[in-house]
Structures are given as structure tokens and as C-alpha cells.
Symmetry: C2
Subunit: 205 residues, 2 copies
């Protein structure tokens, strides 16, 4: 359960403003893969906390190697997961030479493969690489405020010269979550969004 | 005036389907700058025609050099223009370390600067680098069909998992134009669009 004090910014705005968090390419690792990439018994070191409770950026990074290109310095996010998952943008996918599907987190069956290289070893996944479907994290209080429930889909509208309406935005509700929309770098660039920009919820038609 | 035979694909569809052309980073050059970059008296060599009449991709490429990065192999588009203009995505702008504004083509006053390097020399622009505002080229017949006029703004809707509504899409009408929506690589990736995908015109609200 996230502490009330950590949710004050959104509760203080009468309209419960939804703010944007832009996800750069990153990787979630299983313990087995951490040990292959970084050595037996290795523990991820926290670099900084992320907005969602318990989630953190680790000091560790890996290199992604695809048939057409390489991306260095891909941030590991903690905590450990049961299954390794790589989240990249379509720009990254073209650069690596792979075809990653748009998926909700955790839905990796039949997704793209990739080779991941760390300082102590490498692994080659046959699946696990996705483009994360844009979504909004919500505390149950936020969901009640908006009249939404977990797994609903909404549209999100942005303003400005490059104003966009993002359709099919997944709602994810959990007592640990705080209100935040996650999208990837391509989506942010298309709409000229920066971290923490406010966006508007529109009911899906 | 574009020949009728070159407009048959769009005329053959009853709904006059608008198709997407994705603009990768490119540069339009003045004659003076062609001579500095490629040598005195140099003439651009046509690599292939583009969809819009008279426009072509040249064999020539240049290198863009910004304070934080370099992009090689940037395609020169012909024909020559009065003023040199560089069109990049926001991804490119971050990579180069410059801040390019979203502008309609030709509106470069106060836009970003860049150094451009060719095989025979280099130039440093104080302005001329933009992110091109998305727009739709239309023949006057198309404009009449849709009930639109030059400089109107519309919204364009795409389908699929990453379906988007692009607001503020500029309408450009000219007898030389054929029906085509131009957007940049970030916008295409955000919506998972490929070249020649069909999109739907929605009236701006």
C-alpha cells in the first residue's frame, strides 16, 4: 500500500491531474539472468527510486545485440521479476533489426528475441522483447474518482502544436500504484511531451 | 499541374483514401550551399522520384554535426530551394543536442542551427533546422471532395493497438500536389504506421 504522503501531488489538484512518465528502453531481469550477466550471487544496486512504489532504476546496464544493431547502456530496473522482459521503442526495434509487438507488461508469449550482454556473460532470449502498451497506473482512490476499473481502456488527449489523442490506453489499478501515465519515447516525441507534463483523460468512444 | 494518370490510385477509391508518407530526416539545399558542400558547379543527381511531382531524393547525403552528436547519411532532397532547410525528428534533435521547433515548411525564422558537412566543405547555419509540422498534400479536386481549403487544419485518426488521433494537421492545396499525408518517423512509430498505410480524416473540433 502506497503511503498517502506519497500521493499528495495528485490529491492536491482538484481535477486529479494525470502526469506523464516517459519510459526509455529498459530491462527487467530474473535472478537467474542477473547471475549470468553480472556474476553468481550478484545483487542489483539501487541508483534511484521510480515513481511507482518499490520500483527502482539499478546502477547496472546491459547491451542489447540484434541482427542489425547494438544498443549499449540499457538500464536494468528492479526489483527482480520471475521472467526477464525487455521494453524498447519502435525506433529501437528498427535499429536492432527485430520486430517487437506492442504488449501489456508480462504478456511476452511469442514476442521478439534478443541477445543480452553483461560484464560476466550473455543470454539469448527467444521471446521477451516488447514495445510496452501505454497505460495509466492508478490507486483505487483515483480509479473511483474517475469512475474507472482495472483493465479499462481510455483515450488520453494532449495539447500544443503536436497535440494527440492516444486511444486504447490501459488502466491499471493497484493499492501500490500512484497516478501516472507511462508511454515510450516515440510516443512522447510524437506529442512533444516531457516528463511530468499533464494530460487529459477522455472516455473511450 | 500533376497529370491525371498520376493521381489514379486515390481517384479509384470511392472514399479517396489518404495514405501516409513517412519523412525520414532530410535536407533541402540552396545552390550556394550545394557548391560549398559538393564543389563548384555541382548538380544534384536524382536517385528516385518522390510522390509529390518534381520532388526527388538525390544521391547526395550530408553529415549533421550538433553539440552532442553526429548523424551521417542524411539524404538531400531536390530540387534546389532558395533557402537551406533541415528537417529532423525529435529523436534526432535529442541525439544532436539541439532544440528544433515544430514548423510548417519554409517557416525557419528563429529555428535551430546546425553544422552540415559534405565531401568538399561545411556550412554552419544559425537557423534552418525544424521538425516539420505534419500536413496533407492535396490536389484542388481532393480539397473540393473533402470540403477543405489550403491552410485548413484537420484531425487524422489511425487504427490498431496504437491508434492515435493527430490534431492540427495542416492542409496544403496545390495543382501540383497529389493526396498524401506527411509525418515524421517519431509520429509514425508512435502510431505503428508504415508507408502507404491508410488514415481517416476527422474534422477538427
Amino acid at each position: 500500500m502506497i503511503a498517502l504522503k506519497d500521493r499528495l501531488p495528485e490529491l492536491e489538484s482538484a481535477s486529479r491531474t494525470i502526469r506523464v512518465g516517459i519510459s526509455n528502453r529498459h530491462i527487467h531481469l530474473s535472478n537467474e539472468h542477473v547471475e549470468i550477466l553480472f556474476g553468481a550471487g550478484h545483487q542489483l544496486k539501487k541508483l534511484k527510486d521510480l515513481a511507482q512504489e518499490g520500483e527502482f532504476a539499478a546502477e547496472e546496464t546491459v547491451t542489447l545485440v540484434g541482427p542489425k544493431g547494438v544498443i549499449r547502456g540499457v538500464r536494468v530496473l528492479g526489483p527482480l521479476r520471475k521472467t526477464t522482459q525487455v521494453e524498447i521503442s519502435r525506433t529501437d526495434a528498427f535499429g536492432l533489426g527485430i520486430k517487437a509487438p506492442v504488449r501489456d507488461s508480462g504478456q511476452i508469449e511469442g514476442s521478439a528475441g534478443i541477445t543480452i550482454v553483461g560484464p560476466c556473460g550473455s543470454i539469448t532470449l527467444t521471446e521477451g522483447v516488447i514495445m510496452a502498451a501505454r497505460h495509466i497506473h492508478m490507486h483505487p482512490d483515483d480509479a473511483a474518482f474517475f469512475g474507472l476499473k482495472d483493465q479499462d481502456r481510455v483515450s488520453i488527449e494532449t495539447t500544443g502544436t503536436r497535440g494527440i489523442v492516444f486511444k486504447n490506453v490501459l488502466i491499471r489499478v493497484h493499492p501500490k500504484f500512484r497516478l501516472e501515465m507511462h508511454l515510450d519515447v516515440d510516443e512522447a516525441n510524437a506529442a512533444e511531451l516531457n516528463n511530468n507534463d499533464a494530460v487529459q483523460l477522455v472516455r473511450q468512444s
